[in-house]
């Protein structure tokens, strides 16, 4: 999913319908009212947003003004007749037009039948924009830019997971409320079942890893975003540096091809030559193209020719990264590290001559890091427990390498005064 960075500063939003479709099959105004109410309900079901229909006399006070218009309609974004563009909405903000949602009145707006364009499906999508979401490339997602047909019965509709994560990253997830949410107007359409009790647990699910405790198994800079892996979960930090969501995602739902029950990733890095992503788990490794493991993997770690100083074969990897300073790949294990000058995909690799060397050469950084990434201006970031260290671009023997807090700087956790890096018992609820 993608958010625009814009969101309403309030959770109670007024909405109004300024006019109704003028082409057959002529949905009744009461049907349009109900369809819009349920389309908004799809978003309020999973957040603490509340939508209130305004009366006709106070329509102009509404935050989300809904209207049907054709061709040029005074907002600078003309529609194009039947087909093509169907609707658009304005993102949240202070401007009067913010939140407004326009439907092309030259479409045949229908409800659930395939003869025209399903008004409910398009309305849910457009209200996603009116609340601050951009288009999503995920599948399934109601925020995909292309019309995907009706989405079924409006009374039982629930958002796909991608969209739920998206909207909750802007407005949080629904807190258990003692008073049932007010029912929406339900003229003429089957009365909706009473809204299901929100399944959001009142206490965070203890099995969900706490991002503020640190102790990440692997950290990787993939396509400019940073992934923190811990147990069966991962967190994702966008280029902008903001955490996509406080809630971790399940590795198995996104990185397709790792063994079922994967509960610990040792190291991950993105290969520079072909943007493949390498996962190390125990004495095996996988090569991914985007989020899919390439067939023929896993392969044994012995492909890498990692022989320790004492002549033993390395059985697992601690950390792996590409050092921007020289474009070489580095593999760390057991206090030693190897350097590779990687070419295109080959099964058999061999470290550069003169390796392994002792990790203590990376002065000031932990010699057994959880993982390492290159970030920002090519600096090397070493992660260990709940701290990280920055070795400035290309420097190895720096004197003042200071320990920083991963929880505070990356995971958006509040600074804990007694927390001076290392293990900390934040006592936070994640």
């Amino acid at each position: 999913y993608a958010t625009t960075g814009l969101r309403w500063k309030k959770s109670d939003l007024m909405w109004s319908i300024q006019n109704y479709p003028s082409l057959p099959p002529f949905l009744k105004p009461s049907e349009v009212d109900t369809i819009m109410a349920y389309a908004l309900k799809a978003w309020s079901d999973v957040t603490n947003l509340k939508f209130h229909a305004t009366s006709s006399s106070e329509q102009d006070r509404a935050d989300i003004k809904i209207s049907f218009a054709r061709s040029l309609h005074d907002d600078g974004y003309p529609f194009d007749g039947k087909g093509g563009t169907l609707a658009h909405a304005f993102f949240p903000g202070e401007a009067d037009v913010a939140g407004d949602t326009h439907f092309d009145d030259e479409e045949s707006w229908t409800y659930i039948d395939d003869s025209g364009t399903d008004l409910f499906a398009v309305a849910v999508h457009e209200f996603g924009h009116a609340l601050g979401l951009s288009h999503s490339s995920s599948h399934p997602s109601i925020m995909r830019p292309y019309y995907q047909g009706p989405v079924g019965d409006i009374a039982s509709y629930t958002l796909p997971e991608d969209d739920r994560y998206a909207i909750q990253s802007l407005y949080g997830s629904k807190r258990r409320s003692s008073t049932p949410s007010p029912n929406h107007p339900t003229q003429n359409l089957p009365k909706p079942p009473s809204p299901p009790q929100p399944k959001v647990p009142s206490q965070p699910d203890p099995s969900v890893q706490n991002r503020c405790e640190g102790g990440f198994d692997a950290v990787a800079n993939i396509r400019g975003e940073v992934f923190f892996f811990k147990g069966p979960y991962f967190w994702r930090i966008q280029r902008s540096g903001s955490l996509v969501s406080f809630h971790p995602a399940l590795i198995k739902n996104f990185w397709i091809g790792l063994p079922p029950g994967t509960n610990k990733i040792d190291a991950v890095y993105e290969r520079q030559t072909d943007s493949r992503i390498i996962f190390f788990i125990g004495s095996q490794y996988w090569v991914f193209k985007d989020t899919m493991a390439i067939s023929g993997y896993p392969r044994p770690l012995s492909d890498w020719g990692l022989i320790s100083h004492d002549g033993s074969e390395v059985r697992r990897v601690d950390a792996a990264f590409i050092w921007a300073h020289n474009g070489k790949s580095y593999i760390f294990s057991g206090g030693e590290f190897w350097r590779f000058s990687e070419g295109p995909e080959t099964e058999k690799r061999h470290p550069d001559a003169g390796y392994p060397r002792n990790s203590s050469l990376w002065k000031g950084a932990p010699s057994n890091p959880d993982d390492i990434i290159t970030w920002e201006d090519g600096d090397a970031y070493f992660f260990k427990n709940n701290s990280y260290w920055i070795l400035k671009n290309g420097g190895l023997d720096q004197d003042n390498v200071s320990q920083k807090s991963t929880a505070v700087d990356w995971m958006m956790c509040p600074a804990n005064p007694s927390h001076k890096g290392g293990k900390c018992n934040c006592g936070l609820n994640g």
């Binding site: 993608a2 625009t4 974004y77 529609f79 087909g83 093509g84 563009t85 169907l86 609707a87 658009h88 909405a89 479409e107 364009t117 398009v122 999508h125 457009e126 924009h129 951009s134 288009h135 490339s137 599948h139 830019p145 292309y146 019309y147």
Partner: protein
Amino acid sequence: DLAPMPDQYSRGVDWLSRYGYLPPPDPHTGKLQTKEGIERAIKEMQRFAGLKDTGKLDSDTLKLMNTPRCSLPDIIGSEDKLKKRRRKRR
């Protein structure tokens, strides 16, 4: 696949500009799109839609470009971001 008709190229380029995959042509510098830029934009659009990223206006891509859709762009304000970034840098 049949090579797209010449006007399909121009419509394809307009489509890519409209939905944020190509920067709008810059009237000040008269800078036109480059072939590589268009191919890169087509690949990005194909990846976003889950199509095979051929970089060509193949039939699947043209078909999707003709699918009814939301009129908001898929890539929001890349040049805005650029401006923002420039502002930040300034």
